[in-house]
Symmetry: C2
Subunit: 332 residues, 2 copies
């Protein structure tokens, strides 16, 4: 294992110190493992708090800032954040209008966010939770009951975050978050496994021409392995799975994310985007907005996830609203 780290047990502390040094707009508490907006809570605004295992950067710390999250809580690599950490984040960002926990659907994450919500409620903080479960590859797994939460998290955090920034109340923000999750589906393929620093070896082995179809963002196995043929064929597999499960995509237009899993060159992501656009055009669907890049990664895994959101006009308007975070920035 070669990684640009000092020691496996120091990765998260060192990276958080790097986030603090690089982003003066963020307040990073390395000890408490919280990343919040500098300047403290926004009075009267619903606060969005997300978190999950590290190794998926820029998710979630890269999405903290005006227009998106108020706080992110990184756990150890591929390990859920703990309840005290989530509670500390909720306390720090609560501006009196309540807190929305954005949780990816993994059993450990759900449990720890639920415990934190109970602890926060004991302190008089109103907490609601939205669970993101957009990955149509598998129904249940060792880590989840139901679908896994992956790329849609970016869409929920952006769109519900924009609504919160406009001053909407907690039930309205919850409703929007749930609508975005319901309108969004993802599917991923891996060309190689990732190597968690503490494990020191890849989570699985793929043959010289094999790809894992429907892989999870921790290297969980997917639906099957198959021989790689072409970007076009791979995208067809992903898009079939997504569109089978998605509400009609012929409305206001889709928001499409072609997301690198960590080790995939951007030139390949654009080749994939071109194939996604061709499939959607064939279905009569319009791509209204898009993201191409690394947004929800899986350490050094080579591969791609595709996320499609069948957006309505309100979602598009909120997507376009200003956002000012390390990983998404426009309109400011």
């Amino acid at each position: 294992m070669k990684k640009l780290i000092n020691a496996p047990e120091r990765v998260l502390d060192d990276a958080l110190a790097g986030v603090a040094a690089a982003h003066p707009d963020l307040s990073v508490d390395v000890g408490a493992r919280t990343i919040t907006r500098a300047g403290g809570p926004t009075t009267g605004k619903v606060a969005l708090v997300s978190g999950g295992g590290s190794g998926h950067e820029p998710l979630h710390g890269g999405f903290v800032g005006p227009g998106m999250l108020d706080a992110a809580c990184p756990g150890e690599v591929f390990t859920s954040p703990v309840p005290d950490q989530l509670l500390a984040a909720a306390e720090r960002v609560d501006g009196g209008a309540g807190v929305l926990f954005v949780v990816k659907n993994y059993t450990g994450d759900r449990l720890n966010f639920r415990m934190a919500a109970d602890l926060a409620a004991d302190e008089g903080i109103a907490v609601a939770t939205v669970t993101v479960d957009d990955d149509v590859a598998v129904r249940d797994s060792a880590r989840t009951a139901g679908r896994r939460g992956t790329g849609a998290t970016v869409f929920v955090e952006k769109i519900a975050g924009a609504l919160a920034e406009r001053g909407a109340d907690l039930p309205s923000v919850v409703d929007m978050a749930e609508r975005v999750n319901a309108a969004t589906r993802s599917f991923a393929v891996a060309l190689s496994a990732c190597t968690p620093p503490a494990a020191g070896r890849p989570g699985f082995e793929l043959g010289e021409d094999e790809i894992e179809i429907g892989v999870g963002i921790h290297g969980e196995p997917g639906r099957r392995r198959e021989r790689f043929r072409s970007a076009k064929d791979t995208v067809a597999t992903c898009m079939d799975a997504i569109l089978d499960d998605l509400p009609p995509v012929t409305g206001e237009g889709t928001i499409v994310m072609v997301n690198g899993l960590g080790a995939t060159p951007l030139i390949e992501l654009y080749v994939v985007f071109n194939e996604v656009a061709a499939v959607l055009a064939e279905k009569g669907a319009t791509i209204a907005r898009s993201l191409v890049g690394d947004y929800v990664t899986s350490l050094d895994m080579a591969g791609v996830s595709i996320t499609v959101c069948a957006a309505d006009a309100e979602m598009l308007s909120l997507w376009d609203a200003p956002v000012n975070t390390p990983a998404l920035r426009w309109g400011v």
Copy 2:
């Protein structure tokens, strides 16, 4: 070789079609291989044109847009763009105030940009050229006489692009581009080689615990190979080389880029940034601005480059000016 492509000879065409589909603000001519701003030339503004081999995305196409480049000309992977292509771009973006070619210091690039400049002059387009040569790792190589051009290209394109956007004339924009290049140095290390699609195999082999010190962005060899010890030691090697060669960094503040070469997880880039910040703090230097992410890549190479610009107040002001491109966006 596993890559998310359809065929090695189609990579660039497919990727350019993907860029066109993803970015309606850009005008992509797949046949002519030019990426320009939608809407045509800006009358009275100096136009910035850059280009180089593909495989370094988002460089240069991802930097086309208001506040930065007017056009990018991607060659085949790791292959210089051709003179006719560069001439076509100059013709498309010339707004009557002249064109600045931003050229990375590789022999093929310099030759072809020079031929294009001659052809453009024959058509009455005023062309000036700035050559970027920031990589302190090696003095000469198979591809270059003198230092190679790498990360500083982003700084030159951003800062000189902002000055052009403010309406400065060609000599002023040239002068600023040269000042930025003179104030900026880079150094890179690789943990693995990249695999060009047409070659189908890695450019070199590294042992299980070896890193290449001073690698180039096409996988050119660097100064030496050594055993990887820690991010801290690796950064110390890079920063010694950079700071030995850079003007004093104790002025207005530095702009620092910690750049992933393609396959390096963002969490590792933040670990590296933390070590860079520690070295600069020890020297009494301030980090005024920073970029952490993949900006100048080398396909699927694992590794990092560090770029430091000893910026003056004018450069910082131009850095902060609005920019609206796929890969850099703020202030708009």
